[in-house]
């Protein structure tokens, strides 16, 4: 059986909501029925086969070929299966994801992994702002799963993060982990200002020292923490450099904060 492939016939001019194209909603459907699914684009709806060439027969594995940043809500609410995006994806990639795996070869726009519950999201390029965050107005961001970004991420990554891990192999923007209530964000590259802003609990694990440690974080000294190798070992089956770096984080400096908030979070900086 071959993966069910959606190949863009032409680059869309408007943004397209591809949320209906997830494995559980396509299982058991004939290609003609899948082609007839209505997708919202701009202020109108169009048939999926107007936009994509649809081929293949394994609905548990979807592929978006020639994808562009105009495709929003890829894998929204998916609970099982795989989605592979060959190219870029738009906003809200993997929003409310409950299980399965989404892989994007290119870059994605804002709110990727937004309110994600479980599953794995791998972005080989960059991600925009509010990675793993909550929707505006909501107070619970990503609540499980693992998000890996091989490139850089924008501002407010992990805003309201509640559980799960965000692994960033490039740089992160400002307000990393703002208002997070638990979970882990790890960054190999540089981080912007105001990291951990109003975080209550959770861990920011940094391979490089930030330019400034916020004034509302207190230095707790240098330590060898047993949970870190265990944490990194947990990523061994995933495509991430973090799994190979237990030595990099053998010694860390711990800063507790944000003391303007509950103050039970931490920034751990590799020494």
């Amino acid at each position: 059986m071959t993966a069910l492939a959606f190949t863009l016939k032409a680059a869309p001019k408007q943004r397209v909501d591809v949320a209906p194209l997830i494995p559980e909603r396509l299982a058991g459907k004939r290609l003609a029925d899948i082609g007839a699914l209505q997708l919202q684009t701009g202020n109108r709806q169009i048939r999926a086969d107007e936009l994509f060439t649809v081929e293949g027969d394994d609905a548990s594995r979807l592929v978006f070929r020639g994808a562009t940043g105009k495709l929003d809500f890829v894998g929204k609410g998916m609970s099982q299966g795989e989605i592979h995006v060959e190219g870029d994806a738009g906003s809200y990639l993997g929003m409310h994801l409950k299980g399965g795996t989404i892989t994007v070869d290119g870059s994605v726009d804002a709110y990727a992994a937004c309110e994600l519950k479980n599953g794995t999201l791998l972005i080989r390029g960059n991600a925009g702002d509010f990675l793993g965050a909550s929707l505006p107005g909501n107070k619970k961001g990503m609540a499980g799963g693992v998000v890996i970004v091989k490139g850089n991420v924008g501002d407010r990554a992990g805003d309201h993060l509640r559980r799960g891990a965000i692994l960033i192999e490039g740089d992160a923007g400002s307000y990393l982990g703002s208002r997070m209530t638990a979970g882990t964000i790890a960054v190999l590259g540089r981080v912007g200002d105001h990291l951990g802003y109003a975080m209550t609990r959770g861990t920011l694990l940094l391979a490089q020292a930030p330019r400034v440690i916020p004034a509302t974080f207190n230095d707790c000294g240098s330590h060898t923490l047993g949970f870190i190798p265990l944490l990194l070992k947990g990523f061994a089956d995933l495509e991430t450099r973090f799994a190979d770096l237990p030595d990099r984080f053998q010694r860390v400096r711990r800063y507790a904060g944000d003391l303007c908030s509950l103050g039970k979070g931490e920034i751990l900086v590799a020494l």
């Binding site: 499980g144 559980r163 799960g164 638990a182 882990t184 609990r201 861990t203 330590h223 060898t224 923490l225 047993g226 949970f227 190798p229 265990l230 944490l231 070992k233 947990g234 237990p246 039970k264 931490e266």
Partner: protein, 298 residues
Amino acid sequence: MNINGVHIDATFAEAFPMKATRVIITAQNLKWARIAAETMTGFATSVIACGCEAGIERELPPEETPDGRPGVAAMIFAMGGKGLAKQLETRAGQCVLTSPTSALFAGLDDGDPIPLGKNLRFFGDGFQSSKRIAGKRYWRVPVMDGEFLAEETTGMVKAIGGGNFLILAESQPEALAACEAAIEAMRQVRDVIMPFPGGVVRSGSKVGSKYKALNASTNDAFCPTLKGQTRTDLSPEIESVMEIVIDGLTEADIKKAMRAGIEAACGLGAGKGIRRISAGNYGGKLGPFLFHLQEIMA
């Protein structure tokens, strides 16, 4: 049956259903992992008075432990789930949490979960934090030497306690040498522990006593100094009897351990004073698991 001049009695060991769990204790080095494990499994020879039976199953190299440090696998057996959970919690709290550099992990993923770090975390007085890693929850409890890391739960499964055999020898040193050889062989078997001191019991018991307050008393039929004073089960040349008790997860595990132990003891043979292998039972009326020596050694 006769192996190397050692007579194998046509009798059986009688064992009982128990509940069991396994934990993995790691530390900065094997020395301190063993200290924590030995302390936790101390005073746990018999459920009669200790509340549980516990012992070290085996040592674990760093590549076999969750956190990549040297470790020890310890098993605890009790008559019921509540008792097991209570024993685990108090022993882990007093003996592992307190032991320098230790960390505590589940050694069984199967069965019903029972608390491991779940309640110990409150020692952290609000400074504790949790991490969910690969589907499992761990607690980080700040302590004076750094952090105590403990997995939230471990698995509890049905198990069997009370597998046993007796080694009858011409002298006390010869009985002990045979027991030491047996225990060394049995420690290679997974999923079993021999909970008594060094794995050996010199005071095997019978059910009941002339004293009303006692449920068990010395097994006079196997006491060599009473050969002329009671209905003895010993022939004149037997001067010392020692017992090895085995708790295991399954019947197959106990059989495997018994076979390994009896083989090792018989390996010394009659030439080293080992004359008989027997077993303790209650006539087959009390325990549902019967381990016939001759079947095991066939």
